[in-house]
Symmetry: C2
Subunit: 711 residues, 2 copies
Amino acid sequence: MQSYKLNNGVEGFEFGTPIDTGALLEKGTPEKIDFKEKMAVGKITTLEFELLPKDRIYGLGEHLGSMNRRGKRLRSYCRDEANHTEDKNELYGAHNFFVHVKEQEQTGFFIDFPGEVVYDTGFQDDKRFTIEIHGKDFRLIKIPGNSIEEIVSRFLQVAGKAYIPPKWAFGYFQSRWGYKDVAEINGVYERFQQEDLPLDGIYLDLDYMEDFKNFTVSRQRFPKFKEFVAKLKRDGVYLVPIIDAGVKIEPDYDIYEEGLAGNHFCLNAQGNPYVAAVWPGKVHFPDFLQSKTRKWFGEKYQFLTDLGIEGVWNDMNEPAIFYDEKNLEEAVDLASDCRGKNLNVHKFFELKDTFANLLNDEDYHQRFYHRIQGKKHPHREVHNLYGDYMTRAANYGLQKHLNKRFLLISRASSIGMHRYGGIWTGDNASWWSHLEENIRMMPSINMCGFYYIGADTGGFGGQCSGELLTRWLQFSAFTPLLRNHSALDTRPQEPYAFSQEVLENTRSILKGRYRLIPYLYSTYMKAVEEYQLFFKPLAFDYGEGYQEIEDQLFIGEEIMLAPIHKKNQSQRLVDLPEKMARITLTDQETEMSLAPAGPQKLSYDLDHLRFFLRENKMIPLGKSAKNVSKLSMKKLEVLAYITNQGEHVFYDDDGISLGNKEKNLMKIRIKSREDFYDIEVKNPHKELETIDFKIINDNGRIQKISYRVKT
Amino acid sequence: MQSYKLNNGVEGFEFGTPIDTGALLEKGTPEKIDFKEKMAVGKITTLEFELLPKDRIYGLGEHLGSMNRRGKRLRSYCRDEANHTEDKNELYGAHNFFVHVKEQEQTGFFIDFPGEVVYDTGFQDDKRFTIEIHGKDFRLIKIPGNSIEEIVSRFLQVAGKAYIPPKWAFGYFQSRWGYKDVAEINGVYERFQQEDLPLDGIYLDLDYMEDFKNFTVSRQRFPKFKEFVAKLKRDGVYLVPIIDAGVKIEPDYDIYEEGLAGNHFCLNAQGNPYVAAVWPGKVHFPDFLQSKTRKWFGEKYQFLTDLGIEGVWNDMNEPAIFYDEKNLEEAVDLASDCRGKNLNVHKFFELKDTFANLLNDEDYHQRFYHRIQGKKHPHREVHNLYGDYMTRAANYGLQKHLNKRFLLISRASSIGMHRYGGIWTGDNASWWSHLEENIRMMPSINMCGFYYIGADTGGFGGQCSGELLTRWLQFSAFTPLLRNHSALDTRPQEPYAFSQEVLENTRSILKGRYRLIPYLYSTYMKAVEEYQLFFKPLAFDYGEGYQEIEDQLFIGEEIMLAPIHKKNQSQRLVDLPEKMARITLTDQETEMSLAPAGPQKLSYDLDHLRFFLRENKMIPLGKSAKNVSKLSMKKLEVLAYITNQGEHVFYDDDGISLGNKEKNLMKIRIKSREDFYDIEVKNPHKELETIDFKIINDNGRIQKISYRVKT
């Protein structure tokens, strides 16, 4: 074992000869440190911690279930999991960072390993937390700290600064698998204009391609694509096409031919390109673990940037595999064997399950290989890097050809990828429980380095109701990535696809989102820059009595959300850890009142955003606009709850340049002085002319002050 | 259309020539009544109601989701649904009773129809409630009332008195699919004794049979079965075997031969017995819609009663069908076609889905026929009666051969069957959300006539944790049917299968249950006799502000439950519609304190039962015992919250005889008079010697009074 000292007391331990995953920025300085954890290294290495009754565990990123991960069995092994029921042990991401919180202390751990890791956080034995690392070559990072937040912040520092999207990526995006041609996409765009719904972009699912081939655009269904992209972009609306991991096997298809010629594809045991089947039928998988392949594939995104594209989503990159030839043949053989027989129950279920299990059978992962610095590695050993490295490739190409910020999200991910792109939480469903999962999952993912995150609002699979879409938007109005996406053959899910009421309510909510964008963008940028969380569980700030609350959370330092996530509910119970101001926000209006500490009922109508503002905090609001490009900073409204004094740092920049060009940090200070307030605005935003302050004090009295900014 | 007047203003409307489903007790007296609803009769008859913003809908029995059924699409079509995700439109039961609640009035409806009925309660259009009845021959019952409860009670009166199980059926039952032989069952029994866990019985899943053949017992695995049954029964422990709907096709198997000879099986289009495959491989389905078949099959239960059995569960009686020969052959043909081909995505999913959809394909329902009074009916038309009528058959046979009460539950059901047996809610999973579903589902099912109900505690499918089992028991300690059941190959789920803490906590909870049995049994019997609900939503008693609460509910008139149904939570928010007494119950102890009206935090440890007692109400508690046969009535503890006066009627009988033999109605009156209480006990239970009263007043002062009953 080698040990290393990193910044801030962070310790690194290297066992065996780990593959360099690139998860962290640096390895640290060699220094002899005792390794005190209980560990048994072997083919499967086990690490074991004692669990005391009040211990809690936070982190582990993209998993279903409670924020406190205790009592579960969770597996880090990226999986195309289409059915997010609560018993699922893995989703698309592999995020090996967690904080073990004890009554008197807390410690963070990161397991830097590209293969399978299984966490039993007290499921089998409620007194033991065991971790199985499927290998003997890995790094272990141990992070001390005086608080959970301090540990997280230290981890984020060693993991490196998160991906920063353009400001337009904070707008609302419409999407649907099934928008079949340019006329339909244009129809969506026009309908948004007609209905006065804000829109920053439309995602293109795989139907825009020619036969599901990456870096092609269907000539028949998307003629004059470049002109169409330009037309929408002139109005501030971006098209965001999908790219899948698999490359269609088709002679004369340039990507296929180049991949073969350049030796870019993953190989089978015989050394030939491995064949699997996904959307296009049979494909090869680019070996993104080869740096030359990342460069080659990354360059291909130029095909899109040349068309005017500035945003991409990388999909199916766990990688998802529908079947491979071997398994399909075995399944067909089994079916043939069953012909005409009286199958007993065991034989019948074997038959049925054999076909069901073709989809994403993990056996495939032992049939293909990567080359890392010339050495062959079975896919299984490095599985969790695949989507991550595809996204690094995309980031490389997009940055090179755009030389500005771009929208880039990926379905599969591991820690390290957070520096290159964001993630959406995959194929959820139009289930109320998935709205609740969305709420709970955001802080866990954020802790693992990802900031540009969000779920498919309204749910991808299944039939969404107008009520569910509305309630979901009331939450995702606060997530950096805000996308309404749905699957083929499901009920249409655009804000205008339901009743007039739903249209009016969602319009009001979306306009509320656009009023929040200056604040959300500022909070995002500050959080990334300062290694702080954008989403934070109540448990990180409060102790006993509040640490179990998991359907309320903080945005930045200012806002507490308590969304409705159940059907047919116009109110819910909320537990306030301290007195806060209750804010109601619509397109034009804001209302403020005080809410006492403790349990209380919160009414929450369908037509507005309602949230809480913490004491001595303030948030700036802009004016809604049809998209981010049209947001104005001339006039801000600042809502503040001031009992003593508060200071707010408001970040802005040009929203598109690399390197935070035209960065501005405006400081707003409010000090309560008996009957009046001292207000100071330092370093005002260059466009700003007026701030309308609305300040509530401890007695609930609201004072409105219009402040003319001298420039 | 014919119209009829029933009791209490209930109206009946008969359209076409309905099949007599036997759902209700009587048809009513012919009387001309206008039919005012909006209806279009046809191949599919549609009935339409306007929905106003505050309208709510309660009832429809066994469905997932909110108690207020508004905004859903729910289908009455019994289905073997193994995956209870919230998008599922149907489960095992078809319960066509609901109450439409408007701001100023409410009306109940029952659709007496044996085929498919689809309810769109404002999902497609939030202003319209549409019902599709798949036929033109049906009865419609309309029930007026001044409250939801009054409507429900009137419906229960026309539907007839519910099934009454023996008192021992209120005990705790252990079950597991996978207990393979008599040694294992005996091991479970002995372990319960060793661990001092109460137990009233063990369910036997299909492994007790010989090759899944109904009315057989495996000689190899269950030798000397009769002696074993007797041995356990001497100790007050009952064995409850399963019976499935399908009869194995096997020459010389008596049930098969008799069924053929007696013309008892459902026929295919050619008039031969229809062949489907279920657990035993190929089977025929008894045509339970023939009265001669019900009699024949009912008599077969004598095989079990002769062995000493007094309880049965009827399973797979939707009926579940794994495959039939036609579909299996088509699937195999499709697989053969795919051999060696490069399947594109559409072809691949067609192949995979074809095999998945073999299970319970509804096409099968058009391939077999019933004979009702000599007339042939496709199964589809009368599908929802199948499990119902199987259970009527079992009830007939068991009653005839036992001549006392027996335990009888069924998986499939429709209204009418409630007079013949209870239901468990089928193949749920070890998901926290299914505990919540259990809470929400109980009142909806109870409204439809079923009282002996409960879910598989701990969850049938998936991996249960000790915490989930414990929390689930804290709720199902109050459900009449209390069974812990789990599936083959899941984690063992007996109370002793986890840690020592889980064993101690569940023991304490189960003993608490046994202390509650006198109250629960009394409440059950009174509710059935008086056509009142055992489980009641808060919305039935309280208006605005409380009517949306769906994770708290009432038991009888006395108790309000507010169970914890989330992981890693030691407390939850509760909303009290009025001031109540908070009760904590363990094996030996009871604690009482006052809880104010309104939202508040409730701590709920894992080792006790905690619930609320309403004002001027009381509950009697017994002493726990190892099973119901050993419960003593010599001494009762009465917990009361009295601010003025309260009266409690306590029901008891011998718990086993038909016709409520030795029925006793004891009346306990407590009247608060300044500093003391007047206590009166009328018609005391014959075994009763002492009542220990613990009375809390409005100031939280507790008075203990030991009351010696004069007999």
